[in-house]
């Protein structure tokens, strides 16, 4: 039936190469959606260090010696984290823009230019990401 017939690696590779815009959009949307969920959990983990910090003395908080501040400061001190943040922004922006595109597709609006709206999402994502680099990387070196 519709299971794929095994014609070896070469063919799988050629199929991979031949995706059209809509298929790439789907793959990227799936990927970015799951990355965002992954981020959501690490985000919760980092934020929850604020729970013990809330019990700390005012003096400790003012000195910035509580767990939460320490965690954030040390994380933001890592170049890797800064770079990952740029990546996260790219992922989130693409997911939002393409999500808007998908909502239009669901409403049956502009289906003939679905490929162009995908390319537009990509270009806009790229532009916004590049523009965000100075903000994220500032003081990292």
């Amino acid at each position: 039936m519709s299971q794929s017939y095994n014609r070896g690696l070469i063919e799988d590779f050629s199929r991979w190469r031949e995706f059209e815009a809509g298929m790439w959009a789907w793959i990227f949307h799936k990927f970015t959606g799951w990355v965002l969920i992954g981020y959501l959990f690490t985000h919760i983990a980092v934020l929850s260090t604020a729970i013990p910090a809330s019990g700390a003395e005012t003096a400790v908080l003012q000195a910035g010696n509580d767990v939460y501040t320490q965690t954030i400061v040390s994380l933001e001190g890592l170049l890797l984290v800064r770079v990952l943040e740029v990546g996260l922004l790219a992922v989130a922006v693409f997911h939002m823009l393409n999500g808007a595109r998908l909502l239009l597709v669901d409403l049956g609006v502009g289906l003939e230019s679905q490929d162009k709206s995908f390319y537009a999402s990509l270009i806009l994502t790229g532009a916004i990401t590049v523009a965000s680099v100075p903000t994220f990387i500032a003081g990292a070196f």
Partner: protein, 298 residues
């Protein structure tokens, strides 16, 4: 143009036979020598021909998927190379037919109308689902890779089993049904121009299965109706002459678990359809129809 089963075994037998004869006569030796020379000349000529064919700008190189479960030497899928003389306006189907008629009569593929009407020659050409008779050679990059449709069982060479596709088409009851008849017994069932215009594109399907083969969801979910069947359902669900009752029945088929909601709007089917049917658009419209049919706030 090696399309035959490799001949190694035959050669091994020959040498064995030669060593067995204890005292070959002069005549035998001479004849054997002659045969060897003739063989060599033939091989040289073939190599030259292949070289010339490859160098000649007016030939196209085809790499065709071959597989035949019934012949022992062909059970391992492989690609055969054919050099076909190019003529203006040549389609992939023309080239395949030339290869079959001139080089290897065992090359197997379906075709009939040769004009994009019968839907029997959808294939995987250079990594995309194409109707071979509607695909111009000079629009393709060489070498041209021709394979059977992905996500379908290969029967032989470029022929795939279409049974599952036909089952899905039948599942949507692809024929006109109504219980609203015009008054006079011999009266025609007339359709408004606007309604005809609405379903026009959806009536064009030639059941080639290119869309089904291109669909990532259909590949993973055998029960998914697939783009062609949903388009067929659209063709009738949107036909006003069928009436409300039949439309309700059609919507039930359409909105079942493996119906329209499996579609993830990847647009692969719409890209490959040789009849330019806006499949995704039709599927999306049916999704909205299904929602409107079930959501009642008043």
């Amino acid at each position: 143009m090696s399309t035959q089963i490799p001949k190694q075994t035959e050669k091994a037998d020959e040498t064995a036979a030669e060593t067995e004869t204890d005292a070959p006569s002069k005549g035998d030796e001479r004849r054997a020598e002659k045969r060897r020379r003739a063989d060599e000349r033939r091989r040289q000529r073939e190599a030259e021909e292949a070289e010339r064919a490859a160098a000649d700008e007016n030939t196209v190189e085809l790499r065709v998927f071959r597989y035949d479960p019934d012949v022992e030497g062909k059970q391992e899928p492989r690609f055969d190379t054919f050099h076909v003389p190019f003529t203006k306006g040549m389609t992939v189907l023309d080239a395949l037919m030339y290869a079959r008629d001139s080089y290897d009569s065992s090359l197997t593929f379906r075709h009939s109308c040769r004009q994009a009407v019968c839907g029997s020659d959808a294939m995987f050409v250079n990594g995309g689902q194409k109707l071979a008779c509607k695909t111009q050679i000079d629009e393709l990059e060489e070498p041209i890779r021709v394979e059977p449709l992905p996500h379908a069982e290969v029967t032989k060479d470029l022929v795939v089993d279409m049974e599952h596709f036909y089952d899905q088409m039948e599942a949507v009851e692809p024929y006109f049904q109504t219980n609203e008849y015009p008054d006079g017994e011999l009266e025609e069932q007339r359709q408004t121009r606007e309604n005809r215009e609405k379903i026009k594109m959806s009536t064009r399907c030639i059941w080639c299965s290119a869309c089904m083969s291109s669909c990532n969801i259909a590949a993973g979910d055998n029960e998914y109706l697939g783009p062609a069947a949903i388009n067929k359902a659209y063709r009738f669900a949107m036909d006003e002459r069928e009436g409300e009752d039949v439309k309700q029945k059609r919507l039930e088929i359409i909105e079942q678990e493996h119906g329209v909601w499996r579609c993830q709007t990847q647009f692969s089917c719409t890209e490959v359809c040789p009849k330019d049917i806006p499949l995704t658009e039709h599927i999306q419209e049916l999704k909205r129809e299904a929602v409107k049919n079930n959501l009642k706030f008043w």
